[in-house]
Amino acid sequence: MPKLILKFGDRELSECAVGTNPVTIGRMPDNSLVIDNPAVSGRHARVYREGNHYVLEDLKSTNGTFVNDRPIARHTLLEGDAVLVGKHTLLFTQKDGEQTEVPAERPVVPAIGGTRVLDTNRQKELLATVDQKKPSPVDAVIAKTAIPTAQGRIGTIKVLSGNTGQREYVLAAVTTMIGKADTSQIRLKGWFKPKVAAAIARKGEGFTITPMGGKVSVNGQSITGRSNLASGDLIAVSGVTLEFTLS
């Protein structure tokens, strides 16, 4: 007989056979499968037989019911489907029972409008159970892309001449704006100053400066487009002089 195996993380908590009577899943004690967790609705979902298939139905639960990480309202269960209810997983299996009840085949990764979304969790889950020692190329890819990029070095701006309200700025933002506008981090003061004079942007490990309405020169050289900044560069922008340091 098919069954639902209740799991929390890697731990198997219990099993529940699915026969001709519907199985109800929820937090309330009168369900056939009780999951006592605040993420689970009182009456969360149910599984019932329809012909020789088993159908999972979400009972308009607050946090939803997911099959293989996709939200479902109603879903025909297939061998190995992982049903997520709150933080608990229900594995649907018909193994060691009648093998004849496998419904019409569907692709493992559903083809949707030509474009498909790889279920990374499902993929990792499958790989982990099949062979933990041999990560497939796909697993390696996922692992690599998950690594955050290295922290950039710290850039600072020291105000050598002119009034911006602050003597020194740590370039914490991805883009630091210099100008009169409220949105500028380095605020220029004065009637004729441009709203946005220039922007300093983090680019990989370094920083660049782009003139955006003010006259900008770096070490006395006037620049028109985006230029890389080196530690010690002297920047003159709209009447103020700034020193850039990278550490």
């Binding site: 879903h75 559903p110 498909r116 796909v138 991805v174 942007a201 955006m212």
Partner: protein, 261 residues
């Protein structure tokens, strides 16, 4: 800076329906392109829900002061709007069985004060054309892109791969969505192209750049031309292009010259 905008979309030569959606709000500097997926009209619903939700989030002003990892508030706000769209799509898919499993890609630009905030999920792209070249502002969240990054295949192999249509991220999949954000400064004369993969799989980067240059000053002409190129190359998929050209107002140019500073 003034924005001159063009937009065009086409069902292509093979598909029966157009699941792409776009949003053009030049007055707000907001532009979005989405490529929906999911059978039985669900893809159209997902992409449309995404653009509507993003438009509403930006319009109601609730994103002001948003923060995210050192990004400008507008950038962080665009990310928040996309996260909201993801939630709306998931909720709709849960409530309406016909829409179960729907999803969409998204690429958006929110421009203000000389800075273009870019956000994306999936394989819809943003490009910047300026004096120094033609630059991709986004990196696809796709299996082949990840394989290239990991050094498992090279760029040429990726263009031939049978796995080109496998995405690693899309809206409507997971309630925790990782929206990729970036910022770029733009100057007068620069152009930004937002497009779906129906364009980038049929026209090379060189072709895209050449079309943008040929129609400098005429972003609508550029969009129409890009769509025609995609369809002439078989039009295998829906295709959508938004081109934003950054132009200087005459008055501001005069002021800048006079005031120098």
């Amino acid at each position: 800076m003034r924005l001159k905008v063009g937009v065009a979309t086409s069902v292509g030569r093979v598909r029966q329906t157009n699941e792409d959606a776009y949003l053009v709000r030049a007055d707000q500097g907001l532009f979005v392109v989405c490529d929906g997926m999911g059978g039985a009209a669900a893809g159209e619903v997902a992409s449309q829900l995404a653009v509507e939700t993003i438009a509403a989030q930006v319009a109601n002003g609730g994103l002001i002061g948003a923060e995210h990892r050192g990004f400008q508030p507008r950038t962080a706000g665009l990310g928040k709007a996309i996260e909201a769209a993801n939630g709306v799509i998931i909720a709709r898919a849960r409530d309406e069985q016909a829409h179960a499993g729907m999803g969409t890609t998204v690429v958006g630009m929110w421009f203000g004060d000389g800075l273009a905030s870019i956000a994306h999920v999936g394989d819809s792209r943003a490009y910047l054309r300026n004096e120094s070249g033609f630059e991709a502002l986004t990196t696809d969240h796709s299996l082949v892109e990840a394989q290239v990054k990991a050094g498992l295949i090279n760029r040429e192999q990726s263009l031939q791969s049978e796995h080109q249509n496998i995405l690693l991220r899309a809206l409507g999949r997971d309630s925790e969505i990782d929206v990729e954000l970036s910022e770029t400064t733009v100057a007068i004369g620069d152009r930004v192209l937002l497009c779906t993969d129906g364009l980038t799989r049929t026209v090379s980067d060189e072709g895209l750049a050449a079309a943008l240059d040929k129609f400098l000053g005429d972003p609508q002409g550029a969009c129409d031309h890009l769509i025609e190129m995609a369809n002439n190359n078989g039009g295998p998929d829906n295709v959508t292009a938004v081109v934003v050209e950054f132009q200087g107002s005459r008055l501001s140019k005069v002021f800048q010259k006079v005031l120098g500073s």
